[in-house]
Symmetry: C2
Subunit: 229 residues, 2 copies
Amino acid sequence: MSVSKASKPLRPGTYPRGEETRRRMIETALDMFALRGYEGASTRLLAESAGVNLPAIQYYFGSKEGLYDAVVDHIIQRISERTAPAAARVAAELAKDDVPRATLLALLYQMLDAFLALIVNDSEGHRLFLYRAEVEHATAMEPLQDAVRRSVVRPCVALIARLIDRPAEDDLTIARTLLILGQVMAFGHKGPQRDIGWGDRNEERLNVVRELVHEHTAAVLRAARRARR
Amino acid sequence: MSVSKASKPLRPGTYPRGEETRRRMIETALDMFALRGYEGASTRLLAESAGVNLPAIQYYFGSKEGLYDAVVDHIIQRISERTAPAAARVAAELAKDDVPRATLLALLYQMLDAFLALIVNDSEGHRLFLYRAEVEHATAMEPLQDAVRRSVVRPCVALIARLIDRPAEDDLTIARTLLILGQVMAFGHKGPQRDIGWGDRNEERLNVVRELVHEHTAAVLRAARRARR
DNA sequence: GTCTATAGTCGGATAGAC
DNA sequence: GTCTATCCGACTATAGAC
């Protein structure tokens, strides 16, 4: 996530088309907002990191907040793209009766894994931005939080509800699903990694999280079976 | 960063004039920083929320950053106080040989629970501040992160290492412990609560987290047993 | 120790040339 | 569409009265 490499020397007559500039501004702003927060990322920094001048922010997005919203939209788009296939499979299966347990479990795993891959494998910015989304700038973040719930949490909760044959409103069930996502996001943060010296071994980290998600799912089902007896 | 030139060594019970003001400033600043972040909480807001005038920040803490550091120190103090009894028991037991498994498990549970109670039952500010500490203002937060690791993570890792009879450096073991703490902090955040309509039912939330910690611990031990076969 | 008043800086946004 | 130059408000910090 280098800051200075983004600024390219622009010669008169060779300016990129506006759409390209807009796209680049969103992508570098994502990293800046993720790294320093909304208040911490000044317009000057945002402009410089995208290699544009100050008024470009007003020109393309109306205001700093407009740029922020554009970043949020961009991430929402990304989440939807990545999880849409799994979500479609979930919807299709849940429409049927008598879906085998193994199928439901596989779908749950796929659903979580799709989201996980986004967090763990994509740019550092996506990870940090999503992690930060939970504590910062509440109103502008609500669409993003809604997107996560719509694209990931709700399908998972629906699957779990079917698996344990209880209504989806069950507090414990939903809480557990949220916790899984919460810890995935927490794990995405680089802070703790340093301590255990994993550096950039993303694959290994991903495997640990996968194992954990698997365990969690199993634990939810065991708890539900106990509760019904 | 502890260059608090204005404060004298304070004895419990004997507050000099202004010491009460200082304490109040720290406590309200904790909430403001937790709610709006370092950049988001202006000196005017910090002063107003404590019922003092602007220069009081410079007088008592030298600068805005000085006040921030004082808040961090305050939280570190709080964490140490709350977890010290459990940590002492852990150290005492780990010094012996042949500690029963049940004792080790009970200690692990107590350790996590002490930290958990701090996060879940104390002021909203403590919760949010700790959650935010992971993504924000990295250098000033390092002492706080160190305190969490020293007071909570390290004793837990040592207990787990003894329980599964493997060195504490084992990646998966440590990762799991960090994940437990991470999800506890994530769960402390009020965001998800709203969705499941728990409002202020702290006790219930605490029980869910306790159950989860219990399950997690059990899962770690099962995984370790499998691995040794 | 606490206050008012203000300095000095930096933030977001704008005007208007090209 | 992109630029330079600039405004104005908000911010942190300081000076100095009481």
